[in-house]
Point group: C2
Chain length 448, copies 2
Amino acid sequence: MRQGTLDVKKIKEFISKKAIKSLRTIIQEQHPVDLAEVFEELTDRESIIFFKVIDFDAALEVLTELDVEKKFFILTNISPRYAFQLLNEMSSDDLADFLGELSEEKKNIILSLIETRQQSDVKGLLSYDKNTAGGLMTTEYIAFSVDMQSQQALNRLSELAPDAETIYYVYAVDSMNRLVGVVSLRDLILAPAQKPIGEFMSTEVKKVQASMDQEDVAKLIKKYGFLALPVVDDNDVLLGIVTVDDVMDVVEEEATEDMLKLAGSDEKLDTWKSSPWMRAKRRLPWILVAVAGEIISGGVINSFSYTIKALVALSFFIPVLMDMGGNVGTQSAAIVVRGLATGEINPASLWKNVLREAMVGIILGAINGAIIALIAYIWQGEVVLGFVVGIAMAFNLTLATILGTLVPFLWHRLGRDPAVAAGPFVTTALDIMGLFIYFSTATWILKA
Amino acid sequence: MRQGTLDVKKIKEFISKKAIKSLRTIIQEQHPVDLAEVFEELTDRESIIFFKVIDFDAALEVLTELDVEKKFFILTNISPRYAFQLLNEMSSDDLADFLGELSEEKKNIILSLIETRQQSDVKGLLSYDKNTAGGLMTTEYIAFSVDMQSQQALNRLSELAPDAETIYYVYAVDSMNRLVGVVSLRDLILAPAQKPIGEFMSTEVKKVQASMDQEDVAKLIKKYGFLALPVVDDNDVLLGIVTVDDVMDVVEEEATEDMLKLAGSDEKLDTWKSSPWMRAKRRLPWILVAVAGEIISGGVINSFSYTIKALVALSFFIPVLMDMGGNVGTQSAAIVVRGLATGEINPASLWKNVLREAMVGIILGAINGAIIALIAYIWQGEVVLGFVVGIAMAFNLTLATILGTLVPFLWHRLGRDPAVAAGPFVTTALDIMGLFIYFSTATWILKA
């Protein structure tokens, strides 16, 4: 592995000395992704000098990897001619993604640098929602007519290859540009030279509508192990392709989103770089909702203040009841949320799953209830207290598994994101119910 | 999209009638992955009949998709000759994965069906840890000598294509089978017919050691957008390749694992299918540890029982303090855990990250402290109580962001999995410290 072989210190030194030859030697044969990493540690001025040393093909890839601000800075600080060349060679989806993140003003500056033909492609892509197949796709696919012969197609492929996103699938279209089949490069190589594509293509093409959610697109590509998936409009006209590398990012992005949502926020990871004030502002609304929920928990304790005065030791077990309920509930929710995301859990089997998870809750509740009852008895020497805490714990954990499974499932059924509902909502609901069960049992037994 | 077009009811009907021809018509042109899904709803007996209807190439793919039990049942209930053919055509990594999940006895039954040559390949793969590059790789790669000419290579490729896992990369090896270069199929098509591979191959091949953790392999493939990555031994001898589709599974698997660990368990999602008793048993040890932790929280409250007796209203705010600390801490931890997993957060910048997140905590803590103080004052009419709760909340949230960031970071530094440490550990630690801060402040102010 040749990771981290680039010496940033040396690069900075050569830049300040304008030692262009030495720079060229250092970056020779380096992967553009590794070169892009260096830019993170360069100043704006250094970036421009370094960028100019990199040759065109690598520069194109480096540019794709850079973050929005750096990309904009470089494109507007090199010669307009070079910027024009780079922008016109950039793949349409990368370009659309880039423009989508710029302010209106900056977007127009970049658009003014681009050729008219590319412009219309990119503006078309910009019209799709970022999180759909349309937002994810590129228009640099290869499609041939069904009549084209195998050898002819291979020759044409060699010409088109440098500009295409993938040459491993070739799509077959009719005269109206409607998708009718697909041929892999493998098939093309193996087919007799004179055979028309229509005769050996596969007609059962998996394809998606431009409006399909990116998570579903990712699931399909993963399920069938595709390298790319064609995107069509309502009339089956081929619009573009989504490739496996774009989908890898989606899988990670969605997993991260699920996790952060479960932890109680829709904050995106990219805000890691934003200012603490911005990040605090994002997290605040959700926190206030949770505060409101927990004030209700406090209200439950408040309404039993007479009971607590009678037996202060009851309050010692509030933490363990709250924490266990929250943990077990969140865990059940995590299993459901990820299971739904990966497709391993089927929404059709809702009640079966709830029932099975409830069984787990009953078992965990019974065992933990018994243990905590014993601890309560030994610690405080009160048989009644042990009894109360044990019963509450058993109820609480059973409730936790049921709610933890049911809530994200129902949310999913309503077409909403299960991860949002799962975390804080389940925890807060369990806190309120758990404390109510606990103190009700206590009041009832103390009275008896 | 042609999803869910397979009518399982009809298939079951045809199976019971042994209407083989009708079955053939139904499954014609269906994707093997879709066929495999049908098996989930068939009985063992039905599976055998249905499996025999599927033609060899599709059957091979269907078999790969089936779960271990079904796979074993089918292979041992069709003719040994057919099982032999299927097993020998199966890719070595799929076969090794399958065998790795079988009991010793069942493994030997399957091994007895396989050709000796395949056996040694598979036994070799079985020797690698499942979660490493070696465990993930397949031996069905294509490697040519550096001396082979482009056209010659293309011809040989056509012959090898049906058995190879991917033909999109061709590896170049020297006489000792050491990896010296790589050529993409794209390059091969574009190169002049007589040019030896050695003259146009790329010599800067990214490669990994067989012992590399699968998560790191996935990160590399994702980072560079590769379709496959070669695996070598200490002497650079080519052992196999890891392909992007295997890595997609790893990315999802690791994300799921991170999420479940953060929710407080190392339970794998596949246990969704195991019995409630088994699942409860798996979750129990971790729960008992958390119980122990929360009993310490109870101990903190206990040691302040005199203060609570003086002001029962103090206990009303236990839920909101505990819940907010836990949520904010888990959220910080989730950001770090996912950031480390995707490589977006750099372990080198530990203190910078902790400081920034602490700033978020101070802002959130100050705002929420003020709000909760106000609520406490309005609700209970006690200025002192509002003051105490507010200060405790402010401290608690700041502490939550710091611990939530620091703990997974440190765990990562120690070479351990950050997700394990993050969830319950952080929550429990915060509960204990949060309650201590709360009651200490209260005691101090009440005394004053």
